[in-house]
């Protein structure tokens, strides 16, 4: 299940800057994981050649540290369940992958903006209120009515 804490949080295990955290904590197998390969392809339009080499259509061969902040955050959320990551580092194009991760794992993230989770149905628990929301309209109402951001 995807759990989202909206607004400011002060949990000890909260990571405000996932980009830097990723650079200092990633494991090689996180990069070559099947889901990571798909996310890197979709968000960064880049191909994973190996754990230490990515082929970017714009920048050419790059290291894993040069992946986008959004995809680094997605990889962290999928692999490091001990921390709460700041998903404001992810743009709207990461939303579908957050939902994918939430289908198979119990993850909690923090968001400070209205990420667009699309027009379809989904399941997200808004941790601030404990409410399960099933579409964008319900999610928006929960955030706006409770003044979460």
């Amino acid at each position: 299940m995807l759990n989202i804490i909206y607004g400011e949080i002060e949990e000890q295990n909260y990571i405000f800057d996932p980009d830097t955290f990723f650079n200092n904590t990633y494991e090689d197998e996180w990069i070559t994981d099947k889901l990571s390969i798909k996310m890197i392809k979709d968000v960064d339009k880049s191909e994973v050649i190996g754990p230490h080499l990515i082929e970017s259509p714009v920048l050419g061969p790059i290291s894993q540290k040069e992946l986008s902040g959004g995809v680094k955050t997605l990889i962290l959320i999928n692999n490091d369940l001990n921390h709460i990551f700041n998903a404001s580092a992810c743009g709207d194009n990461c939303a579908k992958w957050l939902l994918e991760i939430g289908k198979v794992k119990d993850v909690t993230i923090r968001l400070g903006y209205f990420m667009d989770f699309g027009d379809g149905d989904f399941e997200i628990i808004v941790k601030n209120t404990g409410k399960l929301v099933r579409n964008r309209s319900e999610l928006d109402a929960e955030i706006i009515d409770n003044n979460l951001i």
Partner: protein, 320 residues
Amino acid sequence: MRGKYSIEIYNNKLHYQFEVKRNITIIQGNSATGKTTLINMIADYSRLGNSSGIVLNCDRKCYVLPNERWQDFIINTKDSIIFVEENMPFIKTEEFAKCLHHSDNYYVIVYRDSLPQLAYSINEIYEIREDRESQKYIKPNLVYQSIYNIYNLDTPTNVTPDVVITEDTNSGYEFFDELFQCACVSSSGKTKMHNQMKRYANEGKTVLGIVDGAAFGADMQKMMRTISEYKNNCIIYAPESFEYLLLKSNIFNVPNGILEETYDYAESKIYDSWEQFFTEQLRSISLDAGHNYSKRHLDRFFLSNRCITKVKKLMEFVNC
């Protein structure tokens, strides 16, 4: 600092070109669009100049705000464009807002969360996208990037509101209350606009919300989500400010540049937003014409038929 500045920066793979023209420019948008790469290129050029291999063309110095001693950096930097990356932990603090208050620099802030402590315009919130038109006629091996407005508010057409909600409490509200035949309500501040609009839309009413676009940037995400819920009966109208409307309406003789090239007049050191600039201009120009303009209470002159009719002309999309 005042003026409009073109920034062109490129290396052998990426080319960015865009303009900044107000105190604060916000860059948001999808992941992997090149925001961090842009910041890194600015930082590399700022550190090494031409020997970085990067070309930067801009009439002002460009810097990236450092994480350490950032307050000193701001205080000691003048007439420059300062880029602020999203991983700076102080962006949302009051201290950062205080440092930007009356600053002699422009700021380009990469940040997706809203920043309510800063007064920024809905017209200066951008995303980076590939500029495919440029691709056709310059170097084919370069990827050309530019910035595009996230909020393109089309001017509404043929609106017949049941309720008009203004963010202004005093003068703006008094004026629109006189202008509109229908009910006019003040939301008592911009942060309450969306709730008020939602309330009346839920009653099945057609709601026209009037906000000061020049300083409504931080509330725009929430407002757009509210509007999208009530597509057919929630309309937002966001001129720069109420005072801008009065200046634009030809009630007074206003030098054209003030309205069309505001960036050349609105000094960032004096005005945090163009809303403040237009307020001061209206106060000063109306005083010269023998009238007092105050935000707190509207002089009877502005409620005269002549003034109302002139502003109505600017708002022809509304059936008042």
